[in-house]
């Protein structure tokens, strides 16, 4: 098993956001997490990535059988956890090329590999740009600076392709995309899919799941996964909204 989350509770500034999350992800699987706004989807992603503004109060996260608690954010990244951000930040003056080269080489160093030379790196970058169908010169620009919403999301997929993670969590990567961009994002995921890696896709929309077919769909509601099912669950949610789930929960 790649990821196993048991009874996870997490809070920020004393306010509990995650209230007992359980989730198991095996190699080769795609999981979709859906749910209303503000229920803790991004928080869950951040906690898995190790963001320290959130405090894990109880429960545990096992990744490749190891407890993640003791690993720093960058160690988790080097171990193969990737987060596609809902709101990618801008880093003025730092070119994407420089940023990615630093990232790729830090991860290689962690794995005991030599740094890529300039030309090797450029070659890798061109390859991956092609893979995720990025034609523009995003890589010459500063990280996310002045990028459109769609460009930012494509840039997340590009970075995922560059870093080849084992576990990729994509947080609303489809929000605000037109149909062409959506297809590019989905194709990126499908091309990077391997029997040994896994994806957790956080989304509000069934339409993404037409392209990326999930093995499991989960509903996160008020800090808990309250319902899980196959890909049909997404269609049902699209049809009926979340109210019926609330009713089931007796609210």
């Amino acid at each position: 098993m790649l990821l196993s989350i048991k009874n996870l509770h997490a809070s920020i500034n004393g306010k509990e956001i995650l209230k007992g999350v359980n989730l198991e992800v095996n190699n080769g699987e795609i999981h979709a997490i859906m749910g209303p706004n503000g229920t803790g989807k991004s928080t869950l992603a951040s906690v898995i990535a190790g963001r320290d503004v959130f405090e894990t109060t109880s429960g545990e996260i096992l990744y490749k059988g190891k407890n993640l608690q003791k690993l720093s954010i960058e160690e988790r990244a080097c171990e193969g956890i990737f987060l596609g951000f809902q709101y990618p930040v801008e880093i003025p003056g730092v070119s994407m090329t420089n940023f990615m080269r630093t990232a790729v080489n830090e991860i290689r160093k962690y794995k005991g590999l030599d740094a890529l030379s300039g030309s090797e790196f450029i070659k890798l970058m061109e390859e991956k740009k092609k893979l995720v169908e990025i034609t523009s010169n995003l890589t010459n620009r500063s990280v996310n600076e002045g990028f459109s919403g769609g460009e930012k999301k494509k840039n997340e997929i590009f970075q995922m392709a560059m870093l080849e993670p084992m576990l990729a969590i994509l947080d609303e990567t489809d929000s605000g995309l037109d149909i062409d961009a959506l297809r590019i994002v989905a194709n990126g995921v499908n091309k990077l899919r391997r029997p040994d890696n896994a994806f957790v896709v956080i989304t509000h929309y069934q339409r993404l799941l037409d392209y990326i077919v999930p093995d499991f769909v989960h509903v996160l509601y008020e800090g808990k996964i309250v319902k899980s099912g196959g890909k049909e669950l997404a269609l049902e949610l699209e049809d009926r909204g979340y109210d019926w789930i609330k009713k089931e929960l007796g609210e």
Partner: protein, 482 residues
């Protein structure tokens, strides 16, 4: 920013200084303190012509009438000017014409600093004048340059060999009456570099001076003079380091640049004097007067500085834009970490018509550092159709540091436009998390973000310097040693 990320930043910004070694070398000192006798001693030691002694004495007498300025946003412990040694020289062999006659300890020192004084290593393509304590140790490439009629030598040598040029230009841009520290320098300056580019000559290589303070309790007072004749071009770089000591040491330099019609001078500094320890003990007091004059039409002077060292920095490189259409530029990155303080900026004085100036200042404060931008843009009545654009950005790392901006703007005519923009930002936890999530640790992330922030300035530096400056910026903010 929340306390967590402040804590992270605080931890990684406690850097150590890696140039803090002392070279064990026989040194000759002037008696401690300053009197007319000290001034005469220095002049005699340097075997100077009469006009030099006269200049020094006038400056000294003027200095006695002055008081140390207090207007800067700096907290300075009282300086006991009688406790300083004003002249220290590595004990010389008779003749330093050939490199193999330079003391091997000295060569080793400069090698340790990454400065090659061996002309054989011509691959670097940079001519170097190395100044240790008060004396120029060795100037490389002088012979090659002389083929172009370029003079590049120590100030002392220029006094001996080109007294007319020195007489004509010394003090013409920064008179000894200019300010307290300029007067002091003019009285006791020991050495520095002189550079003269004749009419129509583009200097084919970068010129560079490397300053090193070694001896204890010693002040370093160097003086640089650059003259670019009509249509000449030169790019000049200056680097500085000092050993780690518990006491503060005084450094008061003067740089003067004269650019004639159509001439261009680029002056780049990477200042890395010892900044003091984490508790603010020791460090160099850096009081510097740097000024250039665009004497002829279409002349251009550009200052680029990366200031990471010194416990106190007080400097305002400026341009007097006398010629019509002349251009002055100032690009600065100043880092204050731990207890460092900097009060720095630029002065642009527009006298000619259609003159242009640009000021880009990037302050970075960490620890308990205090960073002030202070700038004067003055456009006189006759300087019609002139333009200035100033941009002063401050980046704060942590919550105990400070950034301040003091712009002074005086515009004397209606056709000129002066623009000033200022921003203050912090490295956000979001940015750090984003970098770390990509596998980049906090230290490297801060290095990346800070270098990105300073990019506009760093890209002005000559290639040879840019890489060093980038590393220095990261190192001065990181905890990494070596």
């Amino acid at each position: 920013m929340d306390t967590d990320s402040n804590k992270i930043i605080d931890e990684v910004t406690q850097g150590d200084y890696k140039y803090g070694f002392v070279t064990d070398i026989e040194t000759e000192f002037a008696p401690r303190g300053i009197t007319e006798e000290t001034v005469r001693y220095i002049s005699t030691k340097k075997n100077e012509p009469g006009f030099m002694l006269e200049f020094r004495l006038k400056a000294f007498r003027h200095w006695l009438t002055m008081t140390q300025p207090k207007w800067a946003h700096l907290t300075i412990d009282p300086i006991n000017f009688q406790d300083i040694i004003y002249f220290a020289a590595p004990k010389k062999k008779e003749n330093l014409e050939k490199l193999d006659q330079v003391d091997p300890e000295l060569l080793a020192t400069f090698n340790k600093l990454g400065i090659s004084l061996e002309e054989q290593k011509k691959m670097t393509g940079v001519a170097v004048d190395a100044v240790m304590d008060s004396v120029s140790v060795k100037t490389t490439f002088s012979e090659t340059l002389s083929k172009y009629g370029i003079i590049f030598c120590s100030f002392s040598e220029a006094v001996q060999k080109h007294p007319d040029l020195i007489k004509q230009y010394m003090g013409s841009v920064v008179p000894y009456t200019d300010n307290y520290f300029a007067a002091l320098n003019s009285a006791v300056f020991s050495d520095g570099s002189f550079c003269y580019i004749p009419k129509g000559v583009r200097c084919p290589i970068e010129l560079s001076t490397y300053f090193r303070i070694n001896a204890a309790n010693t002040g370093q007072f160097e003086r640089t003079l650059i003259v670019a004749e009509e249509g000449a071009y030169v790019s000049y770089m200056e680097g500085c380091t000092a050993p780690q000591r518990d006491e503060n040491q005084l450094h008061a330099a003067i740089v003067e640049i004269v650019a004639m019609k159509d001439a261009e001078v680029k002056y780049s500094t990477v200042q890395n004097w010892y900044p003091g320890d984490k508790n603010g003990k020791g460090g160099i007091y850096n009081f510097v007067t740097k000024r250039g004059i665009c004497k002829g039409n279409n002349a251009k002077i550009s200052w680029t500085q990366v200031e990471t060292g010194s416990s106190i920095t007080w400097k305002y490189p400026g341009c007097i834009l006398l010629g019509d259409n002349s251009v002055g530029e100032f690009y600065s990155v100043a880092v204050t970490n731990n207890h460092q303080q900097a009060d720095t900026g630029s002065k642009m004085i527009h006298l000619g018509k259609n003159t242009r100036s640009i000021i880009i200042s990037k302050g970075i404060s960490a620890g308990k550092g205090q960073n002030s931008y202070r700038g004067l843009v003055k456009v006189t009545k006759n300087a019609i159709n002139s333009r200035n654009y100033s941009q002063c950005d401050s980046l704060l790392l942590g919550s105990q540091c400070g950034a301040h901006t003091f712009p002074y703007i005086q515009v004397g005519n209606k056709s000129s436009v002066v623009e000033h923009e200022a921003t203050t930002s912090k490295i956000s936890e979001d940015q750090l998390f984003y970098c770390q999530q990509r596998g980049i640790d906090t230290e490297s992330a801060i290095g990346l973000i800070v270098n990105g922030y300073a990019k506009e300035v760093l890209k002005q530096l000559p290639m040879e310097f840019a890489v060093e400056a980038q590393k220095l910026l990261s190192i001065s903010l990181e905890g990494s040693v070596g």
